[in-house]
Amino acid sequence: MIRASLTLLLLSAIGGPVCTDPEPVGFPVLAGFEYKEGMTLPKEVTDLDEKVVEIRGFMRREFPGSGPVNSFMLINDACGCMGTPMMNEIVFCTLPENVTMDIEAGIVTVTGKLYVGEEKEDGDVLLIYAMDADTVTGT
């Protein structure tokens, strides 16, 4: 298991180089519409499917706990007290297999390939944005 520090988590060396310059994407685009289950997602976001992007946000655990994580939610809200984020306000990020890192306070920039579209399990929507995270950079 590789334990990475956040300051600059350069995982491309492990998972293969990122060949394309990442496209900066913001939550105003990802979360700029009212998401309803089963809806046709706006072209602005479907155009981002399978693109290498760079998104700034706050790391949050998918489930409360402690210790390093292999996956995390990237959200646009610094405070967990604000309530439940909508599905289009969360990017579910996964680090390469066997790589973990601590959840960092403050803003991070995550770079990697973004996947857009509803992913379901037993009819329940699990996510609409997923990212294979290559780098995570803290402020």
């Binding site: 105003p28 409360p64 610094a78 309530g83 439940t84």
Partner: protein, 381 residues
């Protein structure tokens, strides 16, 4: 023939029979899934099922809460119940129990549920001045929606509110409920670029406002290219003015003045309310999310505190944050860590106590009292 008739009559009744009448054990399974599934999406879907069951699922929620503790109930379940169109007397009692429990993490979310159900003016009046901004915002929402005697809304609109987040949230929630409150706070947020110790809360409010106005204006909302609502502020103001008939102004751009902040901390507390403290090298302290309130400590005392600031240096996040948290930020050495309640190391705790003491000695008694209350829950046990 009678059987056939019975089948014809019963079929539609059974088809629309509320899902809420499931076996109580089944509801406990759904509640457990809503609270414990490791996947966020599954927790969310289970929470919606539980919320839509209304009264039928309440005993299971109570049983789970009794067994695991009330704070094992996650925000997503409380939000789902609060926002559900399905309700019952049992649901309202549950929401009220949560809202009036000062130690329940998600009491303000429960208060929103009561506000949307327009339960009782006296309950809302009790919390309109709560120290937690979401709690008082939701209590005010309840009063405005009830609009008792036709004066509730005006009374709420006239209430002073120093937190820009609360001004935007109340306007947004009222718009969502078909009321048109004064809309200037939403427009002001569109041009707000302020941050607190690097956290851009102004932009977050801008996005919230943009979405609220988009939903309200519908086809009249100007086209936003690339999600960049800032380029369309003029047309948004014009469309909002036309629809509302209110005298609205173009918002003044707000950004962070260069105060030379060298450190600070934020306490996010659903219980005691949020607190924001920043300090400059010269001993000026700024309070509030917008740093609007200031105090200055005598140079000698401040220099002493500044020299001892290494007491605040923490190697990593401390404790497990669920709701309330403290974030400590230093510029030199560069550091940003989250601290959970009861997890602040004693050295850091002592430094903050000294800071509070100095503020009290500088006649900033109200600020000092607020800080003591807020910091108390983070002291290491």
């Amino acid at each position: 023939m009678q059987l056939l008739l019975l089948a014809v009559v019963a079929a539609p009744v059974i088809a629309f029979w509320p899902k809420g009448d499931q076996d109580p054990d089944q509801w406990l399974k759904h509640v457990t899934k809503a609270c414990e599934s490791r996947r966020f999406g599954i927790r969310l879907a289970a929470a919606k099922r539980v919320a839509n069951a209304g009264a039928a699922a309440v005993p299971a929620i109570k049983a789970y809460s009794k067994d695991k503790g009330r704070n094992a109930v996650p925000t997503s379940l409380v939000d789902a119940i609060a926002d559900s169109k399905v309700t019952s007397p049992e649901t309202e009692v549950l929401l009220r129990t949560w809202a009036e429990d000062n130690d329940f993490y998600w009491r303000s979310n429960a208060m929103r549920g009561l506000a949307l159900r327009r339960v009782e003016a006296s309950l809302f009046e009790k919390y309109v001045g709560d120290s937690a901004w979401l709690m008082r915002t939701h209590a005010r929402l309840g009063l405005a929606l009830l609009d008792e005697g036709g004066k509730g809304r005006e009374a709420v609109y006239a209430m002073a509110e120093g937190d820009p987040r609360a001004r935007v949230r109340l306007a947004r929630l009222l718009l969502e409920q078909g009321q048109v409150p004064p809309l200037q706070p939403l427009l002001d947020a569109l041009a707000d670029k302020r941050s607190f110790l690097g956290i851009p809360w102004g932009s977050r409010l801008g996005l919230e406002s943009s979405k609220a106005l988009n939903a309200w204006l519908g086809a009249d909302f100007p086209e936003i290219v690339g999600g960049d609502y800032e380029k369309s502020i003029g047309p948004i103001v014009a469309a909002t003015k036309k629809r509302s008939g209110q005298d609205l102004k173009l918002p003044e751009a707000k950004s962070d003045p260069d105060y030379g902040v060298v450190g600070g901390f934020e306490i996010a507390s659903c219980k005691f309310g949020d607190q924001f403290v920043q300090w400059q090298a010269d001993g000026t302290l700024r309070f509030g999310i917008d740093g609007a309130r200031t105090a200055k400590l005598p140079a000698e005392q401040w220099q002493e505190l500044l020299q001892q600031r290494t007491a605040l240096v923490l190697e990593k996040n401390a404790g497990v944050v669920v709701c309330d948290k403290m974030q400590v930020v230093l510029m030199d050495p560069k550091m940003r860590v989250d601290v959970a309640p009861s997890s602040l190391p004693s050295e850091a705790s002592e430094w903050l106590k000294r800071l509070t003491q100095r503020l009290e000695e500088a006649n900033e008694t109200e600020i000092a009292a607020d800080l003591r209350r807020g910091l108390g829950q983070f002291e290491g046990r």
